[in-house]
Structure formats: structure tokens, C-alpha cells
Subunit: 676 residues, 2 copies
């Protein structure tokens, strides 16, 4: 009676849309993907969601995306139906706003339509459960803009309800309900799934059968006036089916409507109430489908989700408010670093930088600035060694201290610096050691510093250097750099050395000897031979890292006590205030560059800069004579050095000989002059 | 009867030494002198102390030095006697320790001896009151090491006491005491002083007369068996005279002892007790002096003060404990700066730097680092402008913020930065303004920013620029630099501009137009003419400051909205973390260098660096067309700029014309190619 154009006397079927439920885990994973994988790639990505038909009454139908959404092979949660989506994550808020949402919807609708026409959707009904997610992730603020779309093809006209909707228990006997549960469960088991999105139903008073869509013809042999179909329904409303039914009805109309007059729909809802299974609240109704078998064109589609205000617009979630602030800080700090890899330095190996363990010897002007720059690079393991206390003049030049740190005689710098790093970034592993570094020419076996204390200090320093990857020499005396330079060379640790003048500074890396296991023959040769080696070739050409020298290599005076008899301006590092920031920053950038080199500390020192007619930052060779003695005699050798005047080290390293030779050369020159 | 060799039956005269009383004011003044005047000069300096004979019983005799000690023309406090000293302030603790104290004492003793022999001490008895002060000021720690010496010539043998000492009231009647007071006061008045260190006394039962040393012969006409002398005695002990008597007795023995057999000494002590004058506690005694008239050689001398432990050694005072910590911080901060002037840059005019008022537009990575460097240079007036809040990624790169500042949405940067500066150094005058800077291409007459708010922002910015000397442009967009660049140029304020790339940066000063009062004819000419001017001569030769351009001068696109449609890595300043420290430090060092130039912002831009074949940092000219319009139309002009697309500014500045000309040139080139 009622024509396909619809009977105005009958009420029309309406559908409850999905609410998108995007889990915090989803946004976190999107953040990671964006930072590390997608970067500037805006190409559509496959993602995956799911929905559930067992919620308590009152809950909206939700399409849930969680952290696993990006893993297409991840299992769907038990008794849930999967939905396959496409993520359009834009690079800018502007392109998010201007994205052609109509076109995106049409494209998705067309895919669904093609799967219906081709029959692919009969084989794999999940193809009907397609969704789109348009996002823009403002990772600076942890604001996520998104717009969700579950495309639903529209039937040419609205569907007149012939019967219902009513609760399933009003049409099915208890027996029939149990039989439906049983048939559904068996089919799931046969198919190896825990939920079926769409299925066919055939029943009489005693039996209920269910089948897959692809078996339609076999299941409903011959023409009928009415067929029954089942849909896994995430909706909880008594009067309305949920959204997934829509594309199913289009499929039914397109493929099957020529063979029946009306379709009965079971919206299968399957929850557990007080420990007992309950599908009786499923709803059932009968609608008349239009004849669509011969429509070639994709019907129009709807599906963009309304926002919280009920209008057509995107939503925004501000995760910064609900995230653990410390974790938020960690992600944010990583962000700036990872952005470098997006466009500017895609080959940058950040892990090599972030994981490096840095030992900062000196927590003064240079130490503070080096630590600040390391933090900027995301370095998480920073250890300070210093024996000074914070004085009133420090905070304006040493950017880890404040006025309050100076009160009461001043806090120990090493400890205060470590505390400050924690305050700046709780994710850092910062420690401070308030200790002295034994120095040549600063005798240890009398005065208040006992030999035993010196031995403990040396051991402590050895352990610290051993447990770090890079040693920064940032002290204010020359001689305090000696012992750590020797220990670090012996342990094959990268040493970065920075020192300030008034408007000059030096930032250099020490050479790194070849590993010991390569045998003594491979150690760098003694410096006379090596110098000849260098001089014989191009003096300032590229020099391999293992042939580079240390801070002391070019000195013609061995380190001794430089702190005695110094005027006030010699005691304080008098330098242009900007200099320490520049030198500190360069020291860290140098470390980063060395770490990025495939050979690390063995990287060749390049002098290819045409503008520079000077040698590379460092030249000369590691004083291996010293290293040999240290490695053979240990602390006994060191004690001699601490307590001796210059001559001990100068004799050992050949400087005494060098001085004598130089004097001899001068004498010869003079007599030469006279004879001419 | 008793021979000059001394009678063993008589007790010997002993003297109470001075205690040095070095006031905090003295050390403070020494600090100032050392920092600003002496610097590395170790030459002896004349200083001045005083002593008092009116103390209550129990107080030691003190030689006091206070802040006025360095001003030889400063008046001696009323009723005190002056003492003239020599300050030996060493540069190092080492030279303090190794100073030849025996020699110093001998030299001083010799001067006293010569003044006795020559009679100069008779004319000016203060010559007998000589003292030495050997000091080392450790201004880093506010530890002052010192050793005080009051040289006393020794008589060849000890002096036998013939009578006394007893209280003056046991020998003088009340009448005599009153007469002594009266005679002393009259002599002081005649001499125009309030205290006399040494004087002669003549008395009988009814009268007491006093006289100056130089009148000895007239006063004591003819030979006597005994003379009476008076000494202004800082000592309070009943049995002993104070130290000043010693050199007086040597003088008496040398010059007068041939004319009498013994000398009676009145140790004049003159205090006020409960409102009444009291000299009765003065002591009087009689000693036999040795005959010294014909000794030509300086007697041996004593006088180095014992330290607190009672041994011969220096004393140390730690003023850091008793100084106001905030003042201590101020002095300490100045110290490092002033040390630059000692040896390295004696011509450095620190006042020009310390007193400069700096406006920092932007309190991000660059702003924080610029502020830190300004603090290092002692700049006391720093104002921040920013409209952003602190986010979690900021603290590791923006060295004025900590993790806690990010909580709850983040504190406003400008305010937090100013707070942090106060925490670093309480002496700074730091303020923050949480406000936006109107920008070209960011329309102001719709959206949430109203025209009225923009007008207030412009006025606020104009006032801020007016009330500062240097404007730093440290924002993260190009167009936000436009308005402050225009206002600052109009107000003739020095502009320092810094901007970061990934591993590049620009730090430049803007040109400073000639002052307005020089007449329109002197303003820099329009840029076509000026460019021709420059091109006609050497393009990159030295360019006077008033011909230098600004950040926008070489742009061929006018500033517009660059924040729209930016990807995450374009929104964040992605740069090597060390770069901001380097650029920030260089920006401040550039400012300091410009300030030190006699012409300040008008300093010539030098391009004399041979290695650089590139133009100096900045070139071209201030877009005066813009300036003219701004100065004529004010906010109405600005509102047009904010709301317009590029074309408005491009038309105004001639860029449109330039583009057209360039296009025309390209067309011509192409057709040229074709015809050949």
C-alpha cells in the first residue's frame, strides 16, 4: 500500500549518531607519531577505532580511538566491532580550518558505495564502518583540534516505519532470545571473532538462525515479503538505532530490495547486567526500503560530527590541563629538539645527544652556561664538581644561582647547581659533588689537605669520569685541568675544554687515544715522532681525532700553582660578561657536533675553512708519557706531581729538554750572527 | 744619685700600646679607593687617624681610622688628636705576607728621628704620631687582612720611675687642676685646635701655665733640676701612660735632657663624667731621662701590633658577615666590572653601561639571555614586554624560568622575567609589561582586539620607548618588530635587533637618525638618493651611524602576518640551543661597544675586518617615508598599517614601484635573450 515514495501516515526511521571518544592515549600516540614519524607529512594515515554494544543505558554510542589506533594489526577489544578510519593530520591550524570537508566526505562515501556495488562489503562488512578524523595537533600548547566524521550514505528518501521500534522481548519469546544469542555466538566462534557488525537472521517460534551477509542468497532462498537483518548496535536508545545501521540499509536496499517488500531489523544490544547476559533490550522494527538496485551514482552522504555547542564545527581538547605536569614538561622539551629533525637536520641522531652523560668540572660562569645549553639539547644526565661556595657576585654571571643562594656564607656551588637543574626541569638527573680536584704544585701532604683526602679525591674523580661519557673542563685555573685531562685520556672519554680571557676564549676538544685493545703499537707515538709526522705532511691539514692534543700539549711550562700571588683582577675571571655564554654555548655545540660524527671523539679535525689561516682549535698531541706513568703508578705518581714544583712534570714530559735545546739554539744563533 | 744607667731599686716606666680601631667605614672606603682609584697601584698612600683621651675607664687606648681616613684635609673630630699614617695596600695576599715589616718600621722610625733631630717635631709635634697600616683587601670575599704599626723609638735603656705614677688629684690641688684646664683650653683656642698632643707645663701653688714645645727655651728659662711636660694621653690605666708619650720622651731626652735631671710627666686625660669635666684622673709621675743629646743614629724602634691571639701576626676582619647582604651583592657585582678597568680596559666608561635603561621587547629565548648578559654588565634598569605565558618547553631554553612557572597555564613571561631578575640581584630595577605589540597585517578593528585596545597598546609602547635608552627587538616574528622600530627611530633611541635561524642568527643595531633639532635638511635623505650616495662611494666602506638602516631596510616584502599557516616547526623557533645564548650575548656586547663609542648610536659602522667580504651587519637606510607618516599622522596611520595587507606599506615605501621596475627589467632581459 505504502508507495516507495513514503507514506506520510507512517513515522520515519531516525538514527542516533556516534559520539567520537578520543582517548588521552590516542592524543599521546598522535603526538609521538607526529614528532618522530609523520613530521611534516600530511598524507592520510590509516587508523582504527571500535565501538561496543554492551553499555549501560544512558551512555551515548561512542566510536573510541585509543593509543592502539595507529596499529592496524592491533586486536580489537573483545566483543567490540572495529571501524577503519583515515586520519588527516594537518601541519597548520590554517589548513585544518580550510580543509575541504565536503570533498573528504564525498571521497569516503564513494569508497563505501563502491564496496557496496562491488560486493566487497558483503565479504567484509567492516568496509561499511568507515570514519574520518581531521586533526591539528598544537604540540606547543597541547591543544588538539579535531573533527570526526562517520560517513553515512543517504537513502533517496526517508524510511517509513511499518512496525516498532519495540524491545526485542516484546516480539521474541525467551526461547527465541536464547536461540538468537546462541546462534550469534556460534557464528562469531566460527568466524573467529567476538563480535559481528552485520548479520542475517531467520527465525520461527522454535529456532533462530544467523548468517553472514555474503550468504544472503543461500540463507534467504527465494523471494520473500520480508527479511530480517541484525546489526551490532552501539546505541542505547529505545526508539532509535545507532549510526552503523545506515550504510547497512543502503547495502540492503541496493543489493537486495528487489527481492522483498520490507525489512525487519534487529538492533542487537548485548550487555551484562548483574552478572547475567542481557540482549532483551535490543530493539526490533520493520521498515520499507526504497528500490535502489539500479542506481549507479553514489548517494549523498552525511557524517561530520557536531561540536559541543551543537553546531557544525571542530572540537578542541586541551590536554595540558589533565597531563602530569612533569611528563608534560618532558614531552615539551623533546618537542623543540625533535622539530629540528623535521625539516632542518633530518639525519640528526638525537638519542646520541639526549643519552650522553656529562661531567662538568666547575660550576662557575662556564659551568652554569654549559649546563643550561645541555638542558636545551635535552641532555638528562648532568653532574657537577666544584669546591666553591656561591658568592654575592656570582648570580648575575652564573645563571644557575640567585641572591638567596649567597646568604649565610653561600651554598656549595655543585649542590646548588644540581638543585637548580631539577627546578628548571624535573626530568633531569642532576647531581653535585662538593669536592676539590688535586692539582700539580698544590702540595697535599701537609696543610689541611691530607694525603689521604687527596687519595680519596682522586678515586672519586676517577669513578666520576669512568661513569660519564663526556668530561667538560670548566675550571678557573690551568692546573686544575691537569688531573681530569689525564684520567679522561686514560679512560678514553671525550674531553671538552673551555677557558676565558677578557675578550678571548678557547673551546676545544681533547684528542681521544685509540682504544687500548688495539695494542701498544697503535697508541699515538711519542710526541717528537708524531710532530715530525705532522710537520712532514701538511701541518694544519685534517688531523684524525686520535692525533689531536690536549690543553697542555702546546704549553712550554708545566702546570703549577697559579693561584698564589695573584691580584684581585687575576683571581676573578675578568671577562666581557657575554663571553662565558658564548664559550659555554660553543662548548656544548662542539660536543653535539662530535657526537653526531660517525667516529665520535675520533672524528677528524677539519681545517677546511678557507677564511681561517690558523690551525684548528686544538693541535699537538696527548702527553702520553704522563699517561703511561699514570696508568702504571696510579696515585703514587699523582702524589709526586701534586707536591712537586714544575720541574718534575717538565722533566717527565721532555719540556726540560726542550728548554735546554731552545737555549742552545739561541746561543748558536747569536754566535752565528757574530761570525757573519 | 741614681746614675743614667738606671737604678735597680726603682721600678721602670712601661707604656700601654694602642689598639687599632678600624671602622667598617674605613674598609668600605678602602674598597672604593682600591676599585676605582688605586687599582693595581701599590705605592704607599697617606692616611689619617685620631685618638681620644676622654674615654670611660676600662676602654683601651685606640687609634681610630674611619671612612675619612683617606682625606688628609678632613677635620679631626673635636677634642681628638690626629695621627698621620702610611697605608701599604698590597695587591696580593702573598705580598702582604712577605712585606718587609722590619724595613717599613725602620723607615718610619727614621722619619720620626729626623723630625726630632731637625726640630721639625718641635714645630709640628704631630710628626711624632706616625703610624703604618699594611693591608690586603680580598674584595671577592670581603676579607680584610691588616697589620697596624705605631712606631715608637726606644730609649737606650729603660726609664727609672722617681715618683708615681699617681692620680693628678693626689699632687695637684683642685685649684691647680682648674688652672691647668684653663691654661690648656686657652692654648688650644690660641692655636685654633681642640686638642694638643704634647705641651709644656709650669706650675706653682696658684698658677699653672702651659706652652707649645717650640717655646721650650723661653718657657723654661735657664737650667732647672726638673721640667714638667704634658701629653694628651689616650690611655685609661692608672699605672701606665699610653703609647704617644714614647716618642715625646725620646724628643725630650735628645733635645732637652742636658738641661735638667728628671722630667715630670702629666698624662692629661680629659673626660666628661655625668655632665662635668674631669681631668683629675690624669696621672702624673717623674722619670729620669738618659742623656741622648749627642746620639746621631736612629734608635731602634718597636710598634707592630699584636693580633687577637696575642702573637705577632696580622689580623683579619670578615665584613661579609656584618654587611647588609643586598648591599654586599651590589658591591660584589660592581667588583667584577671595575676589575676590567684595572688592567684590561682602563678607559672603559662603566657608568655609561650601568646607567643605561634597557627595554627588552620579547622575554623568550633571546630576551632571557639578553637580560642575563645585561645583568652581568651591571645594567640596573631592565624592562620586559611580552604577551606570552611560560610553557613547559621554555625553562630549558629560557634561562629566567623554572618548571613551577609553567604550572596552571603558565605565568605571564614579562612579569615572571622581572621577578626572576629581582631574585638574582635585588639591586636591579626590573619591570614587566604583559602586553601585545600591534603588528602590520594583524587587523585590530575586529576580532577580540579592539581598536581602542590597540591605541592603548601603541601609547603604552610609545611611553616605554620614550622612557628607555636602548630598545632590544627580541621577538619571534618579523612584523612585531615593525612598530617599535618606527617609534624608536622617531624618538632617536638606539635599537639592537637580534633574530635566530636554525644555525644562523643576525645581531644588528639600527641606524640612528640625526637629532631633529638639526633641521629637516639634516635628516637622512630619501633612500634612493642615499643609496646612490653610498653606491657612488665604496659600498661597504665605513658608514656613519645615521646612515645605517634597520631590520626592514633590505627587505623587498613589507612585514605582514607571518604567524598564519605555520607548521609546528615554523611556530617554534627551531634553532641549535646554544645559538640564543650566543646571539643574546653578542647583542649586549654590541650595545656596550656602541655605548662606549664617543658618538654612541651615531658611531661609524666599521667594515675593516679583512676576512669579511660581506657587508657590515646592517646596510641601507631607515625607511623615512614611514617615519614621516608616523610622525605626522600618529595612530591613524598605524591603524591603517595594522589592518592593511602588504600593499599599503609596500606602496608607501616604494616597494611596489621597486617590484614593478624589477619585473620590467626581467621582461627586458628575456626579450634581449631572444633577439640574440
Amino acid at each position: 500500500m505504502a508507495a516507495a515514495t513514503g507514506d506520510p501516515g507512517l513515522s520515519k526511521l531516525q538514527f542516533a549518531p556516534f559520539s567520537s571518544a578520543l582517548d588521552v592515549g590516542f592524543w599521546h600516540e598522535l603526538t609521538q607519531k607526529k614528532l618522530n614519524e609523520y613530521r611534516l607529512d600530511e598524507a592520510p594515515k590509516d587508523i582504527k577505532g571500535y565501538y561496543y554494544n554492551g553499555d549501560s543505558a544512558g551512555l551515548p554510542a561512542r566510536l573510541t580511538l585509543e593509543f592502539s589506533a595507529f596499529d592496524m594489526s592491533a586486536p580489537t577489544p573483545a566483543r567490540c566491532c572495529p571501524a577503519i578510519g583515515t586520519l588527516y593530520n594537518t601541519n597548520t591550524l590554517e589548513s585544518f580550518k580550510t580543509a575541504d570537508k565536503k570533498l573528504l566526505l564525498e571521497q569516503a562515501a564513494n569508497e563505501i558505495w563502491e564496496s557496496i556495488k562491488s560486493g566487497a562489503a558483503l565479504e567484509n562488512p567492516v568496509l561499511l564502518n568507515k570514519f574520518l578524523l581531521l586533526t591539528f595537533a598544537d604540540l606547543k600548547k597541547y591543544h588538539f583540534y579535531y573533527w570526526f566524521c562517520y560517513p553515512a550514505l543517504c537513502l533517496p528518501e526517508s524510511l517509513p516505519l511499518i512496525q516498532g521500534p519495540v524491545g526485542l522481548d516484546q516480539r521474541f519469546s525467551l526461547k527465541q532470545i536464547e536461540a538468537l544469542e546462541c546462534a550469534y555466538d556460534n557464528l562469531c566462534q566460527t568466524e573467529g571473532v567476538t563480535a559481528l557488525p552485520y548479520f542475517l537472521i531467520k527465525y520461527d517460534e522454535n529456532t533462530v538462525l544467523v548468517s553472514l551477509l555474503k550468504h544472503y542468497s543461500d540463507f534467504f532462498q527465494g523471494q520473500r515479503t520480508k527479511i530480517t537483518i541484525g546489526v551490532y548496535d552501539p546505541c542505547n536508545l529505545a526508539q532509535y538505532p545507532g549510526w552503523p545501521l545506515r550504510n547497512f540499509l543502503v547495502l540492503a536496499a541496493h543489493r537486495w530490495s528487489s527481492s522483498f517488500q520490507s525489512v525487519e531489523v534487529v538492533c542487537f544490544r548485548d550487555r551484562t547486567m548483574q552478572g547475567a547476559r542481557d540482549v532483551a533490550h535490543s530493539i526490533i522494527f520493520e521498515v520499507k526500503l526504497p528500490e535502489m538496485a539500479f542506481s549507479p551514482d553514489c548517494p549523498k552522504a552525511v557524517g561530520w560530527e557536531k561540536n559541543q555547542k551543537g553546531g557544525m564545527g571542530p572540537r578542541m581538547v586541551n590536554l595540558s590541563e589533565c597531563m602530569d605536569p612533569k611528563r608534560l614538561a618532558e614531552s615539551s622539551v623533546d618537542l623543540n629538539l625533535k622539530l629540528m629533525c623535521w625539516r632542518l637536520v633530518p639525519t640528526l641522531d638525537l638519542d646520541k645527544v639526549v643519552s650522553v652523560r656529562c661531567l662538568l668540572l666547575g660550576a662557575g660562569t662556564l659551568g652554569c652556561n654549559v649546563a643550561r645549553t645541555l638542558m636545551g639539547w635535552g641532555v638528562r644526565h648532568i653532574t657537577f664538581v666544584d669546591n666553591a661556595k656561591i658568592s654575592y657576585s656570582n648570580p648575575v654571571r652564573q645563571p644557575l644561582y640567585e641572591f638567596e643562594d649567597c646568604l649565610g656564607g653561600g651554598k656549595p656551588k655543585a649542590l646548588a647547581a644540581a638543585d637548580r637543574l631539577q627546578k628548571i626541569f624535573p626530568g633531569v638527573n642532576a647531581r653535585g659533588f662538593n669536592m676539590s680536584i688535586p692539582m700539580p704544585g698544590h702540595p697535599v701532604n701537609f696543610s689541611s689537605v691530607t694525603l689521604e683526602q687527596a687519595r680519596r679525591d682522586v678515586e672519586q674523580l676517577e669513578q666520576l669520569i669512568e661513569s660519564h661519557d663526556v668530561v667538560f673542563l670548566l675550571m678557573d685555573t690551568r692546573e686544575s685541568r691537569w688531573l681530569p685531562a689525564v684520567i679522561a685520556a686514560s679512560r678514553r672519554k671525550l674531553v671538552i675544554n673551555a677557558a676565558l680571557g677578557f675578550d678571548t676564549f678557547v673551546v676545544m676538544r681533547h684528542g681521544l687515544k685509540k682504544p687500548k685493545q688495539q695494542g701498544a703499537g697503535d697508541l699515538c707515538p711519542n710526541h717528537l715522532v708524531a710532530s715530525a709526522d705532522l710537520l712532514g705532511s701538511s701541518l694544519f691539514a685534517n688531523i684524525p681525532g686520535y692525533k689531536l692534543g690536549c690543553y697542555f700539549c702546546n704549553d712550554v711550562v708545566a702546570p703549577g700553582d697559579s693561584t698564589r700571588d695573584r691580584t684581585l683582577d687575576q683571581q676573578c675571571t675578568v671577562s666581557r660578561p657575554g663571553l662565558a655564554m658564548i664559550a659555554g654555548a660553543l662548548a656544548v655545540e662542539l660536543m653535539v657536533s662530535v657526537l653526531q660524527h660517525p667516529e665520535g671523539g675520533y672524528a677528524i679535525a677539519s681545517s677546511s675553512d678557507d677564511r681561517m689561516n690558523e690551525p684548528p682549535t686544538s693541535l699537538g698531541l696527548v702527553p702520553h708519557q704522563v699517561l703511561d706513568q699514570y696508568e702504571r703508578e696510579g696515585f703514587n705518581f699523582l702524589a709526586k706531581v701534586f707536591n712537586s714544583s714544575h720541574s718534575f712534570l717538565e722533566d717527565l714530559t721532555g719540556l726540560t729538554l726542550l728548554h735546554q735545546e731552545t737555549q742552545a739554539a739561541e746561543i748558536w744563533d747569536m754566535s752565528d750572527d757574530e761570525t757573519i
